[in-house]
Assembly symmetry: C2
Homo-oligomer: 974 residues x 2
């Protein structure tokens, strides 16, 4: 047997080394291909060969959920090969048989184990594990068997779905219309594959904020969030190896809306819970719908505990027959904080009493030791403060830590907390209805960020439960699967494996031909949405004046849209629905919002400058606003024949509070009334003013021979008539060319012919003449001397302006005792950020030697420089420590900078946090440094605490022009 099938996945907190170049397997569950063959090979198991399909044999005493999944496998084999195998509890007579079952519930499998033909060491006593193995002569009359054996119910089910996926049925075959990969025959390679146990015991999703989309859709398709709907969800979860669900709660009550819901969940194999604020298996809607039957009707344990207890007890009594993970504790009336009883001390006492009473109810209703009942206490928003103030749940209750609602973990367990028997878990968001802002429309979750944060959770031992808020479920297909796959084995999806994962995902769902392109597209659209979520874009977000920023953003979006549209056109018809919903729609929809805001920003600028083209920019905004609606309509009405109607009902334009907008509102645009004349005006890069009629001089940003760039001026009509003018440069070293890109006004690019320019500082002039003017534009330049060039070579160099360096461009990186700066590929705003690994490394304060990155600089002037570090928006998840770095210029003493030095403003719910960092998706720390002389210097960036992620370093002794990203990266001078 090839060794690949013998390889076992060691699942543990510390990841094993995995070969970086995995074979591009068609499954996202296993890192190995077992159904590669469409031809018979030696020892391969003929699942479907010729006209025949191997029968599926199970044991009638196995879990109904297993037998139900076997029916899915029957269907899946038919979907792929058009041949449906027999599935039966009767011993088949065929020479080749697929034996499927759970250890201890399948006599044939137990016999194989007993006979030594099947190794069960990694099944016995294991959680949710399976083995897929070919067995020759498993029993008399059977030549060859394919065995799918599970350690328990879900283990077997996951094994079944693993085979389905490897055969070519995507977990998303229904939920995203991914067409099964057709094949005439299917052979399973000989060998044995073992899944191992999942790292995270409970892996689930929370359907939340399900109006208007999910509710409207489910009502139209199923008549509501009933068991027809939920069984679709259960099946999806199982195919994704998830096991846990918080059902929709906004205007729904899972257990009441359809009594089949909990029964079928249990049958399918889904562990049910209720959301963080709904204790004891009861939906809050069950309370609000008939609160008057409960005491004083107040959701208040201080004044109405008896009635609330009764409410709790009814929930446990109703659901006790099923597999549950019970939310305990209590928050306020609905998804909000508890009314205070007067002081935090008395509130904590009250919650302690609630814990005690809830445990008593669990014990009484379930007739068991309450420590045997899986429970969680979620520290969502204000709840965490009770914990931090000292309130502790019983040791066996899992503590569910949360993110900051935007994907940054607020807190991870300390070494002491890791000792708790209940362990801890994470409640994460890839969709939010609430503070700091709602993002419910589209997928804005780059994989690298999820991987970076959730690997922290794994490394710090928060692995009992991972549950992610997925809003309406669709269109978050990608991050849902990524999160759940990550939960199975975080170490297998660390920062260095994200790209390969995305590629495998694309290949699984769309085949190998365009997989690289598709992976790149989804990586890019999510990355761009990660810059700033579409709901938070404003006309002034990206600078239309400085650094070509808005145009660069526009170009990035246009590129991915064009590529996605091109692919859409050439993909086979049957793949287009899947491609549209998973790739083209989110790319294009996001791009439209970005372009709309940029066009509005341009409109605002052009109106201020008095350009007649301000009106054309406004018209462009209106056009894009209509396109946005048309694209939503296409999703709702045309995609898959209207199958997903309402799932694009979410308004997403014009958000002005934490809530999503009620309707889409176009970014406001101005207008001007151009008069009947032929006057022209001139605008330049970097200046909101226009000439003539502006008091100040027109001066282009300084040109620097160390960092050659092009600038521009634009000449525009102020009235309705065509304009005539001449543009001329007075110096031979000014290169003026008209831009070929079609724009609303005429742009002339300005570059410097450095060979012709004089060394040192000088200023040239461009003149524009016509029926007004002449208008003079100053062109200031700085050209390095040969001495300066020699001194600056190999350095990040400037003769005038700011220096922006990609953190990953360090020329030196020192490692200390195995702790080192590593690249985090594709993170945030950069190609690769830098962070410390292992992430659990101990903090190091200067003067102790720490892992250090060095950047050689060449600075233009003596004086005071401000250095800005652009960081990932990580939270200070280690209690009372902050998030620190040490920086120094040359051999000056290092300055320790703490991202959270202001614990009030910068931490969760702090004013600074709320207002800026979650929107920008970066944090900044700044330091000032004095240098006595211009020329070569070294910037040193040393670790203090791990988990700080550094994207960019900006060094400037002047105020930076307004922009979102700051100056573009400067390469080192060559």
């Amino acid at each position: 047997m090839p060794s690949i099938f013998l390889r076992r996945f060691i699942v543990a907190l510390v990841a094993v080394i995995i070969p970086v170049a995995l074979p591009a397997g068609p499954s996202l569950g296993l890192p190995a291909e077992i159904v590669v063959s469409t031809r018979p090979t030696t020892g391969a198991f003929p699942l479907v060969a010729g006209d025949s399909s191997a029968p599926l044999w199970y044991d009638a005493v196995d879990w109904p959920g297993v037998i139900r999944a076997i029916r899915d496998l029957q269907e899946d084999i038919k979907r792929v090969t058009a041949r449906q195998p027999v599935a039966s509890a009767e011993h088949p007579t065929a020479p080749v048989v697929v034996i499927i079952g759970t250890l201890g519930r399948n006599a044939a499998i137990d016999a194989l184990v007993a006979s030594g033909k099947l190794d069960a060491t990694d099944l016995r006593g294991k959680w949710e594990s399976f083995v897929i193995a070919t067995v020759a002569q498993p029993m008399p009359g059977v030549e060859r068997a394919l065995v799918i054996a599970g350690s328990d119910k879900r283990g077997t089910i996951y094994g079944i779905y693993e085979l389905s996926e490897q055969l070519g049925v995507s977990p998303w075959y229904w939920w995203a219309d991914v067409p099964p990969k057709k094949r005439a025959e299917a052979y399973v390679l000989p060998g044995r594959y073992a899944s191992g146990e999942p790292v995270v015991r409970y892996r689930g999703i929370f359907l939340n904020d399900e109006a208007p989309c999910l509710t409207g859709w489910a009502k139209e398709k199923f008549g509501g969030l009933n068991s027809q709907f939920y069984t679709k969800v259960f099946e999806l979860l199982l195919r994704l190896r998830a096991n846990y669900l918080w059902p929709a709660m906004w205007d729904n009550a899972f257990n009441e809306d359809d009594p089949e819901n909990p029964r079928l969940a249990d049958e399918y194999g889904i562990v049910m819970g209720t959301s963080h604020h709904e204790p004891m298996m009861r939906a809050h809607k069950e309370w609000t719908r008939r609160r008057e039957q409960y005491g004083n009707g107040k959701w208040n344990y201080a004044t109405n505990s008896e009635a609330v207890q009764r409410f709790f007890r009814e929930g446990i009594a109703r659901n006790k027959a099923y597999e549950n993970l019970v939310t305990v504790g209590m928050r306020g009336d609905g998804d909000e904080g508890m009314s205070s009883t007067g002081s935090i001390e008395s509130d904590m006492k009250l919650i302690e009493r609630i814990f005690t009473d809830q445990r008593r109810i669990l014990a009484e209703e379930m007739r068991t030791d309450p420590t045997k009942v899986p429970q969680l206490w979620a520290l969502f928003t204000e709840v965490q403060k009770f914990y931090e103030a000292g309130l502790r749940p019983p040791d066996d209750v899992t503590i569910l830590w949360t993110d900051d609602n935007t994907g940054n973990l607020r807190r991870l367990p300390t070494a002491d907390e890791r000792k708790r028997s209940g362990g801890s878990g994470i409640y994460y968001h890839i969709d939010m209805h609430g503070g700091p802002f709602a993002y419910q429309w589209i997928n804005t979750n780059p994989f690298p960020k999820i991987a970076e944060q959730m690997n922290l959770a794994a490394e710090y031992g928060a692995t009992r439960i991972w549950i992610v808020n997925v809003g309406d479920l669709k269109p978050l297909e990608l991050p849902i699967e990524f999160f759940l796959r990550l939960a199975w084995n975080p170490a297998a999806l660390n920062k260095d494996q994200v790209a390969a994962y995305t590629r495998r995902w694309a290949e699984r769902d769309f085949g190998p031909e365009h997989a690289a392109e598709i992976a790149d597209l989804v990586g890019r659209y999510t990355k761009y949405n990660g810059w700033r979520k579409p709901e938070l874009l404003a006309p002034e977000t990206f600078s239309v004046l400085n650094f070509g920023e808005a145009e660069r953003v526009e170009a990035a979006w246009r590129d991915v849209v064009e590529r996605a549209e091109k692919l859409h056109a050439i993909l086979p018809e049957k793949q287009r629905d899947a491609f549209f919903q998973l790739v083209l729609h989110p790319t294009k929809a996001s791009a439209i919002v970005a372009e709309m805001n940029i066009a509005a920003g341009r409109n605002h600028l052009f109106a201020k400058q008095g350009r007649a083209s301000a009106n054309a920019a406004a018209a462009r905004v209106r056009e894009l606003f209509r396109q946005d609606q048309e694209l939503s309509d296409a999703y709702n009405h045309q995609l898959a024949g209207g199958k997903w109607n309402h799932l694009m009902d979410q308004p997403h334009l014009g958000q002005f509070s934490w809530e999503p907008p009620r309707v889409n509102a176009m970014p406001a645009v101005s207008e001007i009334l151009p008069a009947d004349h032929d006057r022209f005006g001139v605008a330049i890069e970097g200046d909101v003013s226009a000439w003539p009629d502006h008091f100040g001089d027109a001066v282009l940003p300084v040109f620097d021979s160390f960092n050659p760039r092009r600038s521009y001026l634009e000449i525009f009509a102020e009235g309705t008539r065509p304009i005539t003018f001449t543009v001329a440069a007075l110096e031979p070293w000014i290169v003026l060319t008209e831009d070929k890109v079609p724009r609303l006004d005429r742009r002339f690019c300005v570059e410097i012919d450095w060979a012709k320019a004089l060394e040192g500082a000088s200023t040239g002039t461009i003149t524009i003449e016509g029926n007004r003017g002449p208008i003079r534009i100053a062109v200031p330049i700085r050209k390095a001397t040969p001495e300066q060039t020699r001194a600056a070579t190999g350095h990040f160099a400037s003769l005038d302006g700011p220096i922006a360096i990609a953190a990953s461009a360090a020329t030196t990186s020192t490692e200390v005792a195995g702790v080192r700066w590593e690249k985090v590929p594709d993170y945030g705003r950069v190609d690769a950020a830098m962070a410390i690994y292992p992430v659990t490394a101990a903090s190091i304060l200067p003067p102790a030697p720490a892992p250090t990155l060095e950047y050689p600089l060449y600075l233009p002037r003596a004086g005071t420089y401000e250095i800005t570090l652009v960081l990932g928006p990580v939270m200070d998840f280690v209690p009372d420590r902050g998030m620190r770095l040490a920086v120094a210029l040359d051999d000056q003493p290092p300055q320790v900078l703490d991202v959270f030095s202001d614990r009030t403003a910068e931490t969760f719910l702090g004013a600074g946090w709320w207002q800026r960092f979650t929107r920008d998706n970066v944090r900044y720390v700044r330091s000032t440094h004095n240098i006595a002389a211009p020329g070569p210097h070294v910037f040193k960036l040393a670790m203090v605490d791990p988990a700080v992620v550094v994207q960019t370093i900006i060094i400037s002794d002047q105020r930076l022009p307004e922009s979102y990203f700051g100056p573009p990266h400067t390469p080192a001078l060559r």
Copy 2:
């Protein structure tokens, strides 16, 4: 002779008491009518009687400017009566003669004085004084003479124009097309009238920032700012009894552009100067046009003093023959600060050297003692800091203090400074191109504010020069005349006389029939523009949510526009041009800008709320934007047959920096795309949210039986189809009526039938039902008990919300040693503000007894209240003192509040000042007060420093809803 003609105006720093109810005279120069009669009466002088017109007799040796003015009088008499009198230096043979001349330059007048027939005591040695008197048998052969005798050239000219004005020729007959009042005959009443001397010696205007309007107009009409243009200006100034001019300088050089300019100025009688930054009678344009001929070409006394001296000397040599008031000192290159020489000390030394050199040049070129040459040093913007740091000009140089560029005096002379021989004056702005913002479009200057500030200047002795920046001259006709009339005799135009003045102005220019209405209209449009200048209005300035604020502002504007349009329609055709430019246009133009911004604010709100009507609000903005342009076009092209073309070229919409916008840009508006459905939504007063689909409850602002008011809810279509719904109140005490005012959506007014409501706090409900809902709106009320009502009667009372009191509604006012709080009628945002008189009273600090206002309060709760005083935006014009008030609740110790406690943020150029107070045209001071029990209290407001102007008092223990004006005034409970 009736005593009225014997009354003498005593011109002095302290005003004489003038009867408040002046006869409504047709002249704004004299407070008495002398040409009332169109019929012969006993002793009256027949200026024009029957077919004959009394000849005008002057002396050929009189000033050419006097003789020139007599030709104007000839024309004026003809304009009025259609009969042109003879004017001649030959002794006329008629029995009635008008003798016009200057004491000492007219033999006939000198003879009358010598013979005792004309009393010259108030002419001899006086400045710019005149007497108009009827003299019987003045000389052989003449039965009766009308004598216009001047103390000096301008005295005589002012007398001539006084007669013109009283005859019915407005000073604005040409500049504002005010038609002469026709009469067949004109008799001058017998008697003698003496003008007295002006209080302010030099009274003038500064034509500034004259592009695009004045320049474009003058170029079209006269070919430039040449002597054809300037003689029109000179004549206007003389008719307004002004004598001083800073000519246009932005792109002009008065003395060079037309050499006739200075010669004719002198001939007419205008004292010429140059603006604050143009020393030694030279326009800065004379420098910039050929700076290369002057040394190193730098406008820098430190590096180029010899050349700059030459430039100075040429100016004095050129203009020395004329009457000048020479600007001395030096600022930067153009209207900006001087480049520093390194430190304030060295800069001061340099300016001292400049003074010395300039004086030497004056002495050498004029061959006189330089103390005999009138000179001024203007402390504009940064220049004042040199003075404050100790730099002093020679004692005979007038110090020209300035306002803050928005009409608030920065500094007034101290007692010591009043002793300077050169005295001091004021450079004031009613138009600004510069910081804190440009206002160059339309008249935004309420008379009461000018009167309040400039009377401070008079009372504090800054009376040597008053010069006002008038931008393009038009359309600032009203405040120009008001400022100049005030300069003649400030005490005659104090706060209590403004209304009568405005009325007299309206009667003079439009006749008595509509004078009251016209006076009210111009008072209102300027008051409303004084709330906030049109250039500074933004869609969010006035709250569309709270206190019905935007609607109240809209209603105020609509009322004046309707009234102005109605008047325009009924006025005689010949008055319409004048009425349009002086009343209708500024009213309507200002109203359009206010309404446009309010409509944009409504659009923004409606878009957020998801109202389909957001688009109608946007359409309204576009419509008003076009109306704005059409109205400017009407001014430029239709008014007076296009006579004033270009004077409405000033862009005024979309200002975003200190500069005016380059073109008008419409306030940005949003759009929504209403879908094809009939869903409705509900919005309520005070809440940006809308229902359904909003998380929070819908709760109307609390109703308070002490301050009954109406609230409202609005029901709107979200889609394109008509909506159907029902609205019902669940309690009988809720009175629901549909509003009859046509609006974009349906409004239901909510009032409380207090007789039916329960005492105390309760909450009712309004429900809206239809194809969604029911939507429930809470109606919280507070009804007073009889005991509360008894205790609160006579008090400014609240059961819940804030109390806002007009400062003028004090129930008690104590006077201390003649110092008292007085009403300042029609000031700022209120009907009357309160201020301390006399304004020169000494400061009083507690516990010394001070003039105190008392306001009885009834407060709803114990606890901490914030009291906000809404003040006039006066500056801290007394050095190092601040602007203080003392406040107290009940018998608590008074708190001394200083508007300028933060001297960095709040004074001129301070961050706070720049950002807010000049825009809002108010300042705030706040104090907090604790009370132990609800119920009756007294708020006491005591003087500390004079000149603080108090408009409104707001008392609240809660955060106030967003609004511009704050809560409307609460009347005392009756």
